[in-house]
Assembly symmetry: C2
Homo-oligomer: 211 residues x 2
């Protein structure tokens, strides 16, 4: 099996952090996102969506989504569980994963893809006909970013990690989304939200955060 990986981008980082927490080693092929290697025919022949990460299994199956790759490895190597150990945890973690994706990560993507000139005509991630940027979405994304930070801060004021005591995939997804938002120059939520800042420092200190 081979993991197609890329530097700096948020989705590949989710998988690297998950694998580091699980202490799983996988053969990696690093695709050069900065120079557009993921858009060239060699990689498009492997992943028609031209996105990273992607996991190619030995039988030729391609799993082309970051959270899906993590769920594949969770099923292969259940310990330590990062998607929950019982039905209640499994449900709560999934609810947070979907909320982090919609309310935070996609809010960051809205601002980024509708602003940066390299995404002109490619304003939505994935393979699409030309989709023009809509500058008004930058403000919408920022509004969602700030509102989500307040929600997450209030939530973390009452618990150590997003799903309770234990570190889970929800922490990985939120850390990656927040770090990506700050890297795209959204206001740093740690400046106004003490519980979020405490959580961020603790989660960032895990060795996996540097994977």
């Amino acid at each position: 099996m081979k993991l197609y990986d890329g530097a700096w981008a948020p989705s590949p980082r989710r998988v690297r952090m998950f694998l580091a927490e699980k202490r799983i080693d996988v053969e990696r092929v690093v695709v050069d996102l900065k120079h557009g290697e993921h858009l060239r025919p060699d990689y498009a022949g492997i992943n028609a969506q031209r996105q990273l990460p992607a996991l190619l299994l030995d039988d030729g199956t391609l799993i082309d989504d970051s959270i899906a790759i993590c769920r594949y490895f969770e099923a292969l190597h259940p310990d330590p569980p990062l998607f929950g150990a019982d039905p209640r945890e499994i449900g709560l973690i999934e609810a947070w994963l979907r909320r982090i994706e919609h309310d935070c990560f996609q809010a960051v993507v809205l601002g980024f893809r509708n602003k940066v000139s390299v995404f002109a005509g490619r304003a939505v991630s994935g393979q699409w006909p030309p989709i023009e940027q809509i500058p008004a979405l930058v403000d919408r994304g920022r509004c969602m970013w700030e509102a989500f930070a307040a929600v997450l801060d209030a939530h973390l004021a009452e618990r150590r990690h997003i799903a309770g005591d234990l570190f889970t995939m929800a922490d990985i997804a939120a850390l990656v989304a927040i770090d990506f938002g700050v890297a795209t120059r959204l206001p740093d939520p740690r400046d106004r939200h003490a519980a979020l800042a405490r959580w961020h420092a603790e989660v960032s200190a895990r060795p996996s955060a540097a994977a």
Copy 2:
């Protein structure tokens, strides 16, 4: 436990169809979406996000997301498996679920929430500060809708269901998204895509589709 349910809306329908496939009975409380009962203090006190569906467990835990509710019940009642029975299936189904959500369901929501006057100032689902509608998003949503239909049609030309032979949660999510898109007057993809139309007829004929 209690399931807060609502008529006509897509997210509650995902859960009803899943529970019907599993033959699971749950006590239901129907909240009247059409008359805004989900926005009133009684329901807001149960679910601060004021969305449906939501599952209230006996210990007071609230699971406030449709797919998360289904994963909770999948963990309690694994048979028949609708999120996959082995690591490869689990990965492929999750990749499709995330793609259906992002590329199809959210495309429908873009058109709907940025067009219909009842959503003025509430253009993103969930609880937010006022978010204005952006009419240009209606065209973006339609472009994504048509492109996704072509992708799904090509995929279904080579297999019976989205994840292969077996019916899974990916079929539920796609059916619900497509039926919701057609209900919001997006072009019916069955008119141009024969494999998608064959799959849609087969999946719609399952008793669970009427749940």
